[in-house]
């Protein structure tokens, strides 16, 4: 009896030390979402957390820390311990775009480790489906003939899609009127009512299915699967096309082991059938990039955006 007790005690002691030295992850992981609950970023983050929890066998806590255009949540992630137990959701705007326009509390190039990308959202240039404009050339022609009369909007003012489209107009020397936005839904209503003639938004799915709108071009790299005939801005020879990514990041200085674990996990999740069904339904594109490739993309986009803000005078 005593013998058995001693044995189990020893076994217990061993397992305890084993747990301490156990490889990542062995404890609850906090995923910070720098936006309020409800948007696509929040929905997909929670989905990723749920799936990653199954794969890694640890609990996830999803924390919404919204405010300051996502600067606050990402900053708290950048300042956390780089142990892999605090990570955050990131999207394009607070990483590669807004830091060029507004001072950010962190440096996207040095303060974060990029864990990997799981999704690209499409940000098409859309118009009413009433036959007035059938191509980007039509839009440019109208804008050049009637300076300032083309009214348009983008869901995120000074976000990537806005700036890419603005760079297109400036490259053509076309003068337009940009109306600041109150979000994608309101802009869609404004487009249908004729308040604006052109919009760059990501939540266009229902309106497209209902035949109310038409896609003229895509502001991110690659074509839009919803409108395979519409070119993207790069193909048309315009200076900017920016990927609107959904991805995960962590504080700088993360151990290689943690990065490798996340490379595997994200790959598994993005290959699952459930993930692909979700992507299809929210009209997004599942697009996996591992940490190394994604870091390269962020660096490239960050530099391109920096040059563009200087060259086209897009900064405030």
């Amino acid at each position: 009896m005593l013998n058995r007790l001693a044995k189990s005690a020893i076994a217990l002691a061993f397992s305890a030390t084993a747990a301490l030295a156990q490889s990542y992850p062995s404890d609850t992981i906090t995923l910070i979402v720098p936006y309020s609950p409800g948007g696509n970023g929040d929905i997909t983050s929670r989905f990723i957390a749920d799936q990653a929890s199954d794969i890694m066998g640890v609990n996830f806590v999803v924390e919404n820390r919204a405010g300051g255009g996502a600067f606050i949540g990402i900053n708290s992630c950048a300042n956390a311990d780089p142990d892999g137990y605090t990570i955050c959701f990131i999207s394009t705007s607070p990483i590669t775009v807004r830091p060029h326009v507004i001072e950010a509390p962190y440096d996207p190039m040095t303060d974060l480790t990029y864990l990997g990308q799981f999704m690209l959202s499409k940000q098409p240039v859309i118009v009413r489906n009433d036959g007035k404009y059938n191509s980007i050339e039509d839009v440019i022609a109208f804008a050049k003939e009637n300076p300032g009369q083309l009214r348009w909007s983008a869901a995120v003012p000074r976000g990537g899609p806005h700036l890419a489209t603005e760079a297109m107009f400036r490259a053509e020397g076309a003068k337009t009127t940009f109306l600041p936005s109150k979000g994608g839904a309101v802009e869609l209503a404004n487009l249908l009512s004729g308040t604006i003639d052109l919009a760059v938004i990501s939540d266009y799915g229902p309106a497209l299915d209902n035949g109310e709108i038409k896609i003229l071009a895509e502001t991110s790299p690659g074509r839009n699967p919803q409108a395979p005939d519409a070119p993207n801005l790069g193909e048309l020879g315009y200076p900017l096309e920016l990927a609107s990514f959904f991805a995960l990041a962590a504080p700088a200085g993360l151990p290689d082991e943690v990065i490798a674990t996340w490379d595997d996990t994200l790959k598994q999740i993005t290959e699952s059938e459930q993930f692909n069904t979700l992507m299809e339904r929210i009209k997004a594109e599942g697009a996996y990039l591992n940490s190394a490739d994604f870091t390269a993309r962020v660096q490239g986009d960050f530099e391109a955006m920096g040059e563009a803000t200087d060259e086209y005078g897009l900064a405030n």
């Binding site: 929905i43 255009g69 600067f71 209503a189 308040t195 309106a207």
Partner: protein, 508 residues
């Protein structure tokens, strides 16, 4: 007809009914806790609806939204703490009624008004969605500007207190409302360097601070003995515990008017239930024959905001069903849940495959019925809870207020704001400044500013701005109606003043 029946059947399985009920009860309870709004809870639940049958997940969300709007009114009435911003206007007459021992009457009036507003807008949605949505599209930035400017104009005059005090409170609210990113240039403005203020002052910390914390501070002025009593004593007179038919009947005109207003506001994307509640309250008071009773426990003062804020929730689905455009966050969340299930709302689905739409309609009506039944249970429970002595209840309210403000976006800054606004609200009330104009100014200012500035940008983009605006039928009609109403309001203000002077009570 077959598709109607098929749709109704989808939503009348026992799983769906159970889901509505579960959502409703959860919504009522969560709604009663400030900060834990239904919007937030639903947002947290959405990813999981992916794994659920659509006709379990969606009815549950619908139940939750409807339940929370009523649940939040109960705390607004009994402890002056609106569970969600939409119930803030209910505080104005609900809390005084509760203080008179008529808390149960007030809660029941809120329940009947909620269900009335819900049913009204659901019926409009079912029969007139595409028609109303087409009208709503005529409302552009110029029309929004007119609407909001008019609401602010009349507000100052009917606030009840001295006109200058009402105007001052409103302007202070408007000043607070412009803090944040400039709507056109997107550069920070009046944020005093706080990153947390870039998106403006949160409505929830502002409301909780101004209403709940200010009230706790006010109560702390009383002697200690007073704190052993319970906050809300309930009268045992049966007449104070229910809403009689004549009382309900006298509120009917207000109910119809406020529900129509709420439905109209809900059909316009981008204006919230909170705005509708305040507008309805203001209008009920303006058109009342005895406006002096408002703010002291008038049943119409509950009927108006409660029916209006609930009417918004159904009407928010109008642009969603007609064009696939969500009217507010609640509708956007329902849209997400539908999209995750592979259902795209809009005219196409109406034509080709309308069963899901009719199932949603059924769930909406079912939720109203269940809300009416289980609302009574919640009132009974709430009665017990608030029966504890003040010295226990008030600290609990403070803790919940702080936790609720924090929960919204996980920010300690918001807790500090709650107490800051608590002090400000307490101080202003002490000096006799009315609270309503301040809150309305705060809520409406961002809408006014962005729409006015966008209208100006539009004016600059058209060759003939006057021609552009005056060619818009909605703009012209609104302008005429508002000019007429303004004349009426001014005449009334003058008349009141003459009457007061004649009675030798000359008011400032």
């Amino acid at each position: 007809m077959d598709s109607v029946l098929a749709g109704v059947q989808l939503a009348l399985t026992w799983q769906s009914i159970g889901a509505v009920l579960l959502g409703l009860i959860a919504g009522q309870l969560l709604g009663a806790i400030p900060g834990l709004t239904a919007t937030m809870t639903v947002a947290l639940l959405i990813p999981y609806t992916y794994y659920l049958d659509p006709w379990v997940g969606i009815p549950m969300l619908i139940g939750m939204f409807k339940g929370s709007l009523f649940g939040s009114s109960i705390t607004a009435i009994l402890v002056r703490t609106p569970g969600t911003p939409a119930a803030a206007a209910t505080v104005m007459d609900g809390y005084p009624l509760a203080q008179q021992g008529k808390g149960e009457k007030a809660c029941k009036m809120a329940l009947y008004s909620s269900v009335f507003g819900d049913s009204f807008s659901d019926i409009v949605l079912i029969f007139g969605a595409s028609f109303l949505a087409a009208i709503a599209l005529n409302f552009g930035p110029a029309e929004y500007t007119l609407l909001v400017a008019f609401s602010l104009l009349t507000m100052g005059f009917v606030s009840g207190a001295k006109v200058w005090k009402g105007l001052f409170a409103m302007l202070l609210g408007m000043l607070l409302g412009i803090i944040g990113l400039d709507p056109v240039t997107a550069s920070p403005r009046m944020t005093m360097g706080f990153l947390e203020m870039e998106e403006g002052i949160g409505l929830i910390p502002m409301l909780i601070g101004f209403l709940a914390v200010a009230e706790v501070l006010r109560q702390m002025e009383y002697p200690r003995k007073h704190l052993a009593t319970s906050t809300v004593s309930f009268s045992s007179d049966p007449a104070d515990r229910r809403v009689s038919w004549p009382e309900f009947k006298s509120c009917l005109p207000v109910l119809f008017k406020s529900s129509s207003l709420g439905t109209a506001v809900g059909a316009l994307p981008g204006i919230s239930a909170t705005v509708a509640a305040f507008l309805a309250y203001n209008e009920a008071k303006r058109s009342s024959r005895h406006p002096e009773k408002f703010g002291k426990g008038a049943l119409e003062g509950i009927a108006a905001p409660e029916s209006a804020n609930n009417a918004v929730s159904g009407a928010n689905l109008i642009p969603l069903m007609a064009f696939g455009i969500p009217g507010d966050i609640a509708a956007a969340l329902i849209l997400s849940a539908l999209l995750i299930q592979g259902i795209t709302p809009g005219p196409v689905v109406f034509r080709d495959n309308p069963e899901p739409i009719f199932a949603i309609f059924t769930a909406l009506l079912l939720a109203n019925l269940l809300n009416l039944i289980f609302g009574h249970v919640l009132i009974k429970v709430a009665r017990r809870v608030v029966g504890v002595p003040k010295r226990i209840l008030f600290p609990v309210v403070l803790v919940i207020a702080a936790a609720g403000a924090y929960a919204m976006r996980g920010s300690v800054f918001d807790i500090q704001l709650v107490f800051l606004f608590g002090l400000l609200g307490w101080g202003l009330t002490k000096m006799g400044f009315p609270t309503v104009p301040l809150l309305i100014g705060f809520i409406l200012m961002p809408i006014l500013e962005s729409n006015l500035r966008i209208s100006m940008l539009i004016a600059g983009s058209v060759p003939n701005p006057f021609g552009y605006f005056f060619a818009r039928p909605a703009f012209v009609i609104l302008l005429v109606v508002m000019a007429l109403m303004l004349v009426l309001v001014l005449r009334r203000v003058l008349k009141d003043r003459q009457a007061a002077r004649a009675a030798g009570l000359g008011s400032g």
